[in-house]
């Protein structure tokens, strides 16, 4: 228990009748990088603002470093925050931006200088200290925004979609920078984003949220490979997982999913508690777990399909095929080419697919 950094107990938040967060429980370990991921309106930013103390909660408690901070002011919570727009004070130099909070708090001058110097060193922004925010590039602004949290010597860093205002190239650069910083500082970091790539690359654990409820909290690999429900499965991955609606049937003791006359054997599927024959299910297969014309260990098939569209993406390609009248995406190596109308046979890598109950949408 002692190495828990942030702990959230039965947290609820309502705006009038609208329930934004619904008795949420979450524990974040010291030094952990936790990403809150979800579509807009899922409550992820709200949760972050509650942790920061920028929103008053309706019910529940928040602990940071073992201290109950539910009623504390943001400045007394031991958190630093980096915003989407960075929110640097435009008329102040970088140095003033970093030191303003400390000066207001009445800290001694040498101590302030010491802290600013150290933060500037860590972030390599010493040459920028006398510049104004308008004179900085996007990446530099982000470093200053992080620096503002750094000088406050806090335990927990909160990031509110810090990269979503930037173009794709800068975004991937800064992503790496944040990861390096986390490795260097080993503070607890809570990071809100709607970008699954950011989540997968940065996080120790990802919390996928929807409707104010955490759907799944796991390491990135598990989230991607073994989504607990249809929502998480569909939200992660691009192009998204293929969903085949069918029914489990049994022939000679072997179960398969029957989908528009096609029977896909699921004997090698690692189900949690077994699947009842006759259940309506959704078989979810990521594009990379469907193979074209190549039988591998653990694959089932062949199934007849027709190529519809071929999309080269550079590193690999996506082939859109029709299987039993349903459009399905398949990821293939870059070298392979397919032409529309081409007849092909596909194989499913059953150990890597997910099967969901069609009624509860939960993983089976």
């Amino acid at each position: 228990m002692e190495n828990i950094s942030v702990s959230i107990k039965d947290l609820s938040l309502r705006f009038g009748r609208i329930e934004v967060l619904n008795s949420m429980n979450l524990e974040i370990k010291q030094g952990e990088f936790l990403v809150l991921l979800g579509p807009s309106g899922c409550g992820k930013s709200t949760l972050l603002n509650c942790i920061a103390g920028l929103l008053d909660v309706s019910d529940g408690q928040i602990f940071i470093e073992g201290k109950n901070v539910t009623w504390e002011e943001p400045k007394d919570r031991g958190i630093g925050m980096v915003f989407q727009s960075y929110a640097l004070y435009p008329q102040m130099s970088v140095e003033k931006n970093l030191s303003f909070g400390l000066r207001v708090a009445g800290m001694k001058k040498p101590e302030i200088e010491e802290r600013v110097k150290r933060a500037a060193e860590i972030l390599q922004i010493e040459p920028l200290l006398n510049r104004k925010p308008v004179e900085l590039s996007g990446g530099q602004r982000q470093r200053v925004a992080i620096g503002r949290a750094l000088v406050r010597d806090v335990d927990v860093f909160l990031f509110d979609e810090p990269l979503s205002n930037l173009d794709a190239k800068l975004r991937s650069e800064l992503r790496v920078e944040i990861k390096l910083l986390h490795q260097k500082l080993s503070n607890t970091m809570i990071y809100v984003t709607h970008d699954q790539i950011e989540a997968l690359t940065l996080a120790d654990r990802v919390a996928v949220m929807k409707g104010g409820v955490i759907q799944q909290l796991d390491d990135p690999t598990t989230i991607y490979e073994k989504p607990v429900n249809l929502f998480v499965a569909g939200f992660m991955g691009s192009p998204s997982m293929n969903f085949l609606h069918g029914e489990v049937i049994e022939k000679q003791g072997n179960q398969s999913v029957s989908f528009k006359g096609i029977e896909i054997p699921i004997r090698s599927y690692p189900s949690i508690n077994g699947i009842k024959t006759g259940t309506k299910v959704i078989l979810g297969a990521r594009p990379e777990y469907i193979k074209i014309d190549e039988k591998e260990e653990g694959t089932v098939g062949p199934f007849e399909a027709v190529v519809e569209v071929y999309e080269p993406m550079g590193a690999d390609s996506i082939v859109w095929i029709l299987l039993g009248g349903k459009e399905i995406s398949v990821r293939v190596a870059a070298g392979k080419r397919y032409t529309p109308e081409e007849k092909i046979s596909v194989y499913f890598k059953i150990p890597s697919v997910s099967i969901f109950d069609a009624a509860t949408e939960q993983r089976l």
Binding site: D56, V57, S58, Q61, T70, W71
Partner: protein, 301 residues
């Protein structure tokens, strides 16, 4: 709702932070309420005075509720109050103001809409130069141009006539309204205009079929701005309208400053309220649009 006490389990903070009424908050409300009293007092005084009788007014209780409410002053202000020799009350002034305000508002908005449209989509050589001149005009004190305009209007023969004052209001409404419409049309996507061009529409067709229907909200702002502005005008009305077309504000001032006989403060205040009624109604009905009009009218650099 927010004052609700949290259900605390033990001494641990839980749920919403209990809100205390802080001295700062009391201070905020105190300042606002005192300011609000300062701002409402004149309206209150106006109303109370207009409902009192002259003997009661002479007792000097300016802020008190009338002992006996009387609408005689209102009737007199509207119907029989004297300005110099004429004793027709404010009534003719009211109708003069209507006759001036309605055409001036329509004319000035139509011209400004065309200007703004041309400036946004059909820039011709020098169009921005003329617009710059016009904007400069928004700042020029009227006194600088008023004398030459009197001379010019006299030469043309529209000085002290209804058309003259209408044209004058259209001229002085042009800078702000043109800016208003130019900013509005400038915020519309250029692609919309290009698409219409490709469909073969010309200057007037695009204006009437595409731009005009889209500019209803901004036109409402413009109407509010012009109706209140022209109704409240005093300078142009007193100089350019002539005796026959004297607007309400000028007549009001004449009634109040007429020195013959005893000053009837209740009639004066009733007349003042009557003169302020139209813009006040526009203000209370339009609410947020009025604020938007001010923001748009306050020339932004």
């Amino acid at each position: 709702m927010s004052e609700e006490k949290p259900e605390s389990s033990g001494n641990e903070p839980r749920g919403p932070k209990p809100r205390k009424i802080s001295p700062a908050r009391i201070g905020v409300y105190a300042f606002l309420i005192i300011s609000a009293i300062f701002f409402t007092l004149p309206l209150w005084v106006m109303l109370m005075t207009s409902l009192k009788t002259m003997p009661e007014i002479r007792m000097g209780y300016l802020f008190n509720w009338p002992q006996e409410i009387s609408f005689d002053a209102w009737v007199k202000a509207w119907d029989t109050a004297c300005t110099g020799r004429d004793c027709n009350g404010l009534k003719p002034g009211f109708w003069n103001s209507v006759k001036i305000t309605v055409p001036s508002t329509i004319l000035s908005i139509v011209i400004a809409a065309i200007n703004g449209y041309a400036l946004s989509f059909w820039r011709f050589k020098g169009s921005n130069f003329f617009f710059g001149l016009l904007l400069f005009g928004a700042f020029v004190p009227y006194q600088v141009v008023i004398y030459p305009l009197i001379i010019a209007f006299r030469e043309i023969g529209i000085f002290a006539t209804l058309p003259g004052i209408i044209i004058l209001h259209s001229i002085f409404g042009m800078p702000i309204l043109t800016l208003l419409f130019r900013n509005f049309f400038g915020s519309l996507p250029m692609d919309l205009f290009k698409a219409a061009r490709i469909d073969g529409a010309g200057f007037w067709q695009i204006f009437f079929w595409i731009m005009l229907p889209m500019s209803v909200p901004i036109s409402i702002v413009a109407v509010i701005l012009q109706v209140t502005g022209i109704w409240n005008d005093f300078l142009f009305g007193s100089v350019f309208a002539g005796r026959a077309n004297m607007p309400m504000t000028v007549q009001l001032n004449n009634i109040v400053t007429t020195t013959t006989g005893i000053r009837e403060y209740n009639v004066n205040m009733a007349a003042t309220i009557l003169s302020a009624a139209v813009p006040l109604v526009v203000y209370f009905v339009s609410g947020k649009w009025f604020v938007r009009g001010i923001a748009a009218g306050a020339v932004k650099g």
